[in-house]
Amino acid sequence: MSAISLLQFLSQLLFLIVFVVVAVKAVRQPRAATVDTALLFGAVSIIVAESWITTELHVTASHWLSAVIGSLLMALPYLLLRLVDDFAGVPGPLLRFTEIGLAAAVVGFFVLLPKFPAWLSLLYIAYFVGLTVYVAVAFARAARVSGGVTGRRMQAVAAGTLSLGLVLFMAGVQVMLPHRPSWLDVLALLFTLISGLGYFVGFAPPAWLRRAWQEPEVRAFLGRAATLPRLPTTRQIVQELERGAASSLGAPAAVITLWDHTDQVLRAYVASESFEVKPGEMIGGRAFATQRPLFWTDPARHDPAHADLYRQYNANALLAVPITAGEKRLGALVVYGPRASIFAEDDLSLAQLLADQAAVILESRALIDEATRVRAREEATRLKDDFLSAAAHDLKTPLTALVAQAQLLERRILHDPQAPTDLAGIQRIVQESQRLKRLVLDVLDVARLEQGQIVSHKETVDLVTLAHEACARHHSARYRCLVEAEAPAVGEYDTNRVAQLLDNLLENALKYSPDGGDVLVKVWRDDDEYHLTVTDTGIGMLPADVPHIFDRFHRGTNVDDRRFAGMGLGLFICRGIAEQHGGRIWASSPGLGRGSTFHVVLPAAPSGYLTDQTESEGSQQSMEAPLMAAQQTT
């Protein structure tokens, strides 16, 4: 056997092998793409078989047989075009033209053989070459959008088809040339072999090759996946996974539906719309319920109840794989598009690989979430414990003094009914009961604060009036309390709570100014907010303490516990009051011994919204009655 005939034999063998593989697949999974592929290679195989038989038996084919073989050859571009139509669509007129061309070619063979004019041969070849180039380009384009194994297989088919076109092109050149140069035969054979190889790789790739092709896709997916569990929400992770799956599979869309254990439904988001399906419902629900990969090219037949929905999303071909981590069913990955990929089985196995990765990612996310929840629970428990032991200690101390002092008074009288009144003892009882009262109220406020209920009854009230009233309560010979405001600051507030906030700030200002001094309260408006500051000339704060002084139980490190009584709840309550009014609070200090400023911002009332009550209240206290009246008329 010469080298040339060996080459020929190898090419022909390749085509036959491909035929066997695709024929088996067509029988197992009869759908348009597999059947058309089988037909294509069936035609090729008959051509090959005919050439073997005639060569081996040393017979010349009859005209009829030649016409049949020629017709089969001319049918190849048409069958290839049908294949393109199966996965990418071919314009109807082109399909019709090709069919008519094929019919004309067949008629031509039967009528004209054996006297076949050269110009007609050229026309036939032009028809064949033109269509194969079109098909090759179509496959190449599909290869670009498809990822993974499918993309590589499309590339191989494109190369095989182009080579087939070239073989026919060379036949045309031979027709044109008076002498057939032998190198042209070799070249044609070479391209036949390339074509055979291309089709073999494209239509019947061995398993190891598929795995090798899948690897970079999975690797790329995993590369992105490493950071995914850290995304802020599960929804975002799912979106990224969907995007990754769609691009890896070269599919237009991918949807991940997740099992919601509480509601016992599978939930997915398609184009920002929420979908809920029960297990067994639609393709995702079925893949989830059966734990098997599914591939549908006719969803209306598999799931008539949702035919409209599939149509609405242009989902004519769907692929679904379960997302499962060990025994835990997490959901399903659904990939869909207007047309099925011709290599759906590869897509299905890649999709399953991606779904397995998705399961790992979602599970690690769930673990992170769970760890965060546990930490938050522990933190809450710890805070509660801290609060309980601190509150217990701080409440028990005045209570001890109170009980002991009362019992002491009683004992004194029992000892000596004539004893003079122990005024100091009675004063201690009064003082300790006041201290206890404040602590109890603070603790109750904190409990209420934690339920977000510290602000209850809002009414229209002037902050400047409240500031004046609070200042008056804390004014003394040792401390001067001054209010500075240019206009009333009327808004909707819980009067008692804002008064409490002011009292707390003023008490702190006085408490932490042991040498006396002025306390200045300023109120002003800035845009749609009121600003209120309380500034003292006291012991000040360390910069490190400033961000924490509003935390529960936090007291400045420069605060001597014994010199300044307190539980560290006052400013925590102040912050709660400000925040539950939709406002904020912060503090600043130029440094130790240089005083502090507490800054409160509360939202102002909508302009023009004032009641008579406010006017009467406001004008009583305020020097700015004309302005109030002006606001009133608007």
Binding site: S389, A392, H393, K396, T397, P398, L399, T400, A401, L402, V403, A404, Q405, Q407, L408, R411, R412, H415, G425, R428, Q431, E432, D560, D561, R562
Partner: protein, 120 residues
């Protein structure tokens, strides 16, 4: 007048005064201190028969005070008096003769002091 003298140590002035006045009324010689260091100075000057000791105090707390006594090889019965819910444990930590949880009844305080004085 009893011969059993009591040193009361507490950083809360109200409790300190009340307990001291009460024990005086009951006939005990009483000394007071607002922290461990003050208490230690008093112990070194005139040894009391029993110490009524608060645990959480500034400057030198109850544990520090008990340790200082041990360092100086001074053996003194201690009655722990705290608002903690682990009073019993704290008492065992300083090898106290007994403990009184705040808030206490004066009569219980008196019982405890009498018992320690009787043993001393």
């Amino acid at each position: 007048m009893s011969t059993c003298s009591v040193l009361v140590v507490d950083d809360d002035p109200s409790i300190l005064t009340t307990v001291a006045e009460f024990l005086s009324l009951e006939g005990y010689p009483v000394q007071t201190a607002t922290n461990g260091r003050e208490a230690l100075e008093l112990v070194e000057r005139a040894r009391p028969s029993v110490v009524l000791l608060d645990m959480r105090m500034p400057v030198l707390d109850g544990w520090g005070f008990a340790e200082a006594l041990q360092d100086r090889a001074i053996s003194l019965p201690i009655l722990v008096m705290t608002a903690s819910h682990s009073t019993a444990q704290w008492a065992s930590e300083v090898h106290a003769a007994g403990y009184i949880a705040k808030p206490f009844d004066l009569i219980d305080l008196l019982d405890a002091v009498e018992q320690v004085c009787a043993e001393a």
